[in-house]
Amino acid sequence: MPLLEAIDVHGGYGGMNILNGVDMAIEADEVGVIVGPNGAGKSTMLKAVFGLLTITGGEIRLRGDPITNLPPHKLVERGMGFVPQEKNIFQSLSVAENLEMGAFLKPATVSRLKRQIYDIFPPLYDKRHQPAGELSGGQRQMVAMGRALMNEPSVLLLDEPTAGLSPRYMNEIFEQVKRISATGVGVLMVEQNAKQALRIAHRGFVLAAGQNRFTDSGEALLADPQVAKSFLGG
């Protein structure tokens, strides 16, 4: 049974359908990457999984249990973590406080988990008392991911975690994503930097017009000349 599974998902905003039948499945310890042209419904799919928009058809399952259209806070309780693309940190709160808020539902585990996050993202330890809004883009992304990891999620949803980052930080974030998934956390992320992202992907989903165009392992998609031609810029 896959950890997270989406079957023929339809949905959109205010009656306008953006998703027209998306299928996805990832196992625990796998990285799933959603790529595709602008307007393909990549971020929309991620938001649909996290209950931020109404799914009008199809089903989403977490470990076999249906979770379609559950509100976000219920999904957080069930072990789902979501890092939005924008506004993904509490700017005026310190780094440490950002992490604490991530473990709001599990106050007893805060100090242990904070140490873990500082181990994963060492730069955050030195800045732990600084307001998160004062950090650089890459470090903010670390705070954002750290906040979501504080809830010990079984699935982590990342919406364009490398958007606007320098290549150095981009590679670092991808390395961290690999490491996080290796600890048994399923990661589903949307990426613009398709080639680099597919390199670390166990599963790749190429979306176009709200439907799966190609679904395969990251390697296979990178090797597929058709995918390369239409979606990866040759």
Binding site: F82, I89, F90, L93, N151
Partner: protein, 332 residues
């Protein structure tokens, strides 16, 4: 020296009193704004309501404070704070929450709070009448006169004023510790900063909203009661409080509790200094002034009856020159 004591009594003490009251009111306004994103116009009436509940309790048990050596009204404060907080939460559930559920614009919430203002005012008047009432029932206000050597004029400070300073200090420090140390306090700041992310972190936003009303209601009760204790309870108290506390919240930077405190004192002292009779301070220099200058008896910037204009002026000045307030707050 007498003149300095006069200045101390009429500016330092009076300004601090007004500042404390405005600060506690403005903190409530600013907290409600930062969590619920609307200007809560009924806040001054929550202050009146809190004071009125204290008045009723004091009338019912006039000697409850005797054993503790405190004014009965002070002993009744905790009960009134609980009651007013419950009313505040109730008002939210009945009037504001259905509107929020419909996702209305903030202006609709503001108008709704205006409706709540009129309702509360009517209700209070219905039971209290329109006259002023002292919160000292069957007791007298203690007035401390501190004589300094070498001067004839004493420093005058009343019992409610001393209590007000202590209570404000405790409330402000308590709030600071709550917002920076407590898990729920941090969650409150998180929700004010980024409500969507707060929800995505599993923060119970309903609980935070309830908590906001409890804190705002309690502070409003403290401020309203201590003001009424120092002067007298009047059902139209809110009329003279609404503008200054909003000015204080905006001057300090909306959504910024520390700014609200600073704004409260700024507005309070500005008001006090504007109505202060400066000719008293100039009197000792009278002999050294050239003869063609005649010192008028009253040299205040504005008459006492126009005191309410001062916060209005400050408000406009701040909105024109520094719309985000002293501390960087959210622009309304």
């Amino acid at each position: 020296m007498n003149e300095l004591i006069y200045f101390f009594n009429y500016v330092v003490v009076a300004g601090s009193v007004t500042g404390c009251i405005y600060a506690m009111g403005a903190i409530g306004v600013t907290l409600i704004y930062s969590i619920l994103r609307f200007a809560h116009f009924a806040h001054a009436d929550m202050m009146t309501l809190g004071a009125f509940v204290v008045l009723l309790l004091t009338l019912a048990f006039p000697h409850a404070g005797d054993a503790l050596g405190l004014p009965t009204a002070i002993v009744m404060l905790p009960l009134a704070m609980i009651f007013t907080s419950l009313v505040a939460v109730g008002i939210d559930r009945v009037f504001y929450q259905p509107l929020r559920a419909h996702g209305v614009k903030p202006i609709v919430m503001v108008i709704a709070s205006l409706g709540v203002t009129l309702m509360l005012q009517g209700l209070i008047r219905l039971f209290s009448g329109t006259g002023a009432e002292s919160l000292y029932v069957e007791a007298r206000k203690a007035i401390f006169r501190i004589e300094l050597p070498g001067v004839t004029r004493p420093i005058i400070i009343t019992e409610p004023q001393v209590i007000l300073f202590v209570v404000t200090l405790v409330a402000v420090i308590g709030l600071h510790l709550f917002l920076t140390r407590a898990r729920l306090g941090k969650a409150m700041r998180a929700m004010s900063d980024n409500p969507d992310l707060a929800r995505a972190s599993g923060i119970n936003t309903k609980l935070i909203i309830t908590l906001t009303w409890v804190i705002a209601g309690s502070l409003a009760t403290l401020a309203g009661t201590l003001l009424s204790l120092d002067v007298a309870f009047k059902p139209d108290l809110s009329f003279f409080l609404l503008l200054p506390i909003f000015a204080a919240a905006i001057v300090g930077g909306v959504g910024h509790p520390y700014g609200a405190i600073a704004g409260g004192f700024l507005v309070g002292f500005a008001e006090t200094l504007a109505v202060f009779n400066w000719s008293v301070l100039l009197r000792p220099l009278r002999d050294s002034l050239p003869s063609w200058i005649e010192l008028p008896n009253n040299l205040a910037l504005v008459g006492t009856e126009y005191k309410i204009v001062v916060p209005f002026f400050i408000l406009i000045a701040v909105l024109v020159w520094r719309p985000t307030g002293l501390f960087k707050g959210k622009v309304i």
